[in-house]
């Protein structure tokens, strides 16, 4: 598993590394950071669901409503941006 350790700062770089590691472990194929996982057929829409659940569990976020669209999960960079945004919002609102 690649559950994020609480003591390391959550940056785009660490996130991308962790997501890449998760993908490599689960789909047993190397992928690029900006590769379109769905267009290249590496990932099925079924696996995308597992990605949603994994990101929610690993980073303690809820991905709902408009955020829950395929485009947010197309690339490792896209997923990392989504997690950063969802992690950032509650802190900005002061109720972290």
């Amino acid at each position: 598993m690649t559950v994020h350790a609480d003591n390391t700062p959550l940056t785009a770089e660490t996130l991308q590394k962790e997501i890449l590691a998760f993908l490599t472990e689960r789909i047993k194929t190397d992928v690029e950071l900006d590769q379109d996982l769905f267009a290249s057929g590496v990932v099925s829409s079924m696996f995308a669901m597992q990605l949603v659940v994994h990101l929610e569990d690993a980073y303690d976020i809820a991905i709902v409503g408009a955020d829950l669209k395929l485009d947010n999960f197309r690339t490792v960079v896209g997923m990392s941006n989504l997690v950063l945004r969802l992690k950032g919002d509650p802190e900005a609102a002061g109720n972290a």
Binding site: I27, K28, T29, G41, V42, V43, S44, S45, M46, F47, A48, M49, V52, V53, G65, A66, L68, K69, L70, F73
Partner: protein, 366 residues
């Protein structure tokens, strides 16, 4: 009307002095009690699974069951020297059944008490009631379909499939392609409705609307030209999965309204929901209509939520929604999609009717 008891989905049998007359270790040629075979075969045909929890030498007991021609009826048999409550709980866990859907039959009161103590939801029966079981309501499903009769076969195919998946080293999608999956979407007839009724009763997890359509309600819609009732079956090289999905669609001139989509939780890992939705979206695109799906979020249908969103459904306003009026039921959202052409699935073969063509014919007639 008295409340119907929860149906038993698996009956766990003791062997010595319950299934057969005597103790195997004392008499290697023990014979079945009269009527036991009939009870096992009858319950099997109703879709009730059988298992075993017996304190015995595993190899000897299994060999005797094979000699008696009964071994094939038992799934996940637990034969050994451990606690029977552990065996019963393990069987429930392996089958992914709630303990209240498991029954246990044993001649010894102490064994029944032990199971009852550690697994209070399991219903226990003394061995001398074996002959009555087929007459009890908890062993009598109202509807017996082609899928109930094949339920054991479907579970056994599932075990072989899982074993093969565990040893497959590669992406899931590649594994799926090795299964030779064939999905058939068809317009429902009377018999299909019975299979669907059972599906909507059994699976709340993947029901997107949380609305239960009764057998009678769906039958009435079969004859309605504005509605499509569709059923989905799936097979692969290990055998049939049976009826795994149902759709209820109402046609309006500018939009198709998806009122019900329920799929069996057994086929989630095959991405069946996404395949069905993509097919429907492609059909709607060919017919030149928008799609609107009723969706009610529950604690158990998250996967369906994700499937809808990933297919492109969203809470977006559209003028087409005006014809639908208010949704029925609390918390039902209307998800909207501008249909576009979609590629067929890459992981399975799909046989399906042409909904778009039927719509065009009806428009021409009208």
């Amino acid at each position: 009307m008295a409340e119907k008891p929860t149906l038993v989905k698996c009956l766990v049998w003791d062997l010595d002095n319950t299934v057969w007359d005597g103790t195997l270790l004392e008499d290697p040629n023990v014979e079945l009690f009269p009527g036991i075979r009939d009870t096992i075969v009858e319950l099997d045909s109703r879709g009730v699974l059988h298992s075993v929890s017996s304190k015995n030498d595993h190899d000897l007991a299994w060999k005797r069951l094979e000699e008696l021609g009964l071994a094939e009826y038992f799934v996940h048999p637990q034969i050994g020297w451990g606690r029977k409550s552990d065996a019963v709980k393990l069987i429930a866990e392996r089958l992914n059944f709630a303990e209240k859907t498991i029954a246990f039959i044993d001649d010894l009161p102490t064994e029944r008490a032990e199971v009852n103590y550690h697994a209070p939801d399991v219903r226990c029966y003394p061995a001398d009631r074996a002959g009555e079981l087929t007459g009890l309501p908890e062993f009598s499903p109202e509807i017996i379909t082609v899928d109930s009769r094949r339920r054991r076969e479907m579970y056994q195919a599932g075990f072989r499939r899982d074993a093969e998946k565990d040893t497959f080293n590669g992406p899931d999608e590649e594994f799926l392609r090795t299964l030779d999956l064939v999905m058939t979407i068809k317009r429902a007839d009377e018999e299909d409705i019975s299979r669907v009724e059972e599906l909507t009763l059994r699976t709340s997890q993947m029901n997107a609307t949380g609305v239960h359509y009764s057998d009678a309600a769906l039958r009435a819609l079969l004859a309605d030209p504005d509605h499509e009732v569709l059923t989905v079956t799936l097979t692969d090289r290990f055998g049939p999965h049976g009826a795994v999905g149902v759709l209820l669609l109402e046609r309006h001139p500018e939009l198709w309204h998806l009122k019900l989509l329920a799929t069996s939780c057994r086929v989630v890992t095959f991405g069946a929901g996404a395949v069905i939705l993509n097919w429907l979206i492609d059909q709607a695109a060919q017919a030149g209509v928008h799609l609107v799906a009723d969706f009610k979020q529950t604690e158990r249908n998250r996967m369906m939520d994700i499937a809808y969103r990933f297919a492109g459904f969203a809470n977006e306003p559209c003028a087409c929604l005006a014809v639908l009026g208010e949704p029925v039921g609390d918390g039902v959202q209307r998800l909207h999609l501008l249909a576009d052409r979609r590629e067929g699935p890459t992981t399975m073969r799909l046989t399906s009717p042409e909904l778009a063509a039927a719509a065009a014919v009806e428009d021409a007639v009208a």
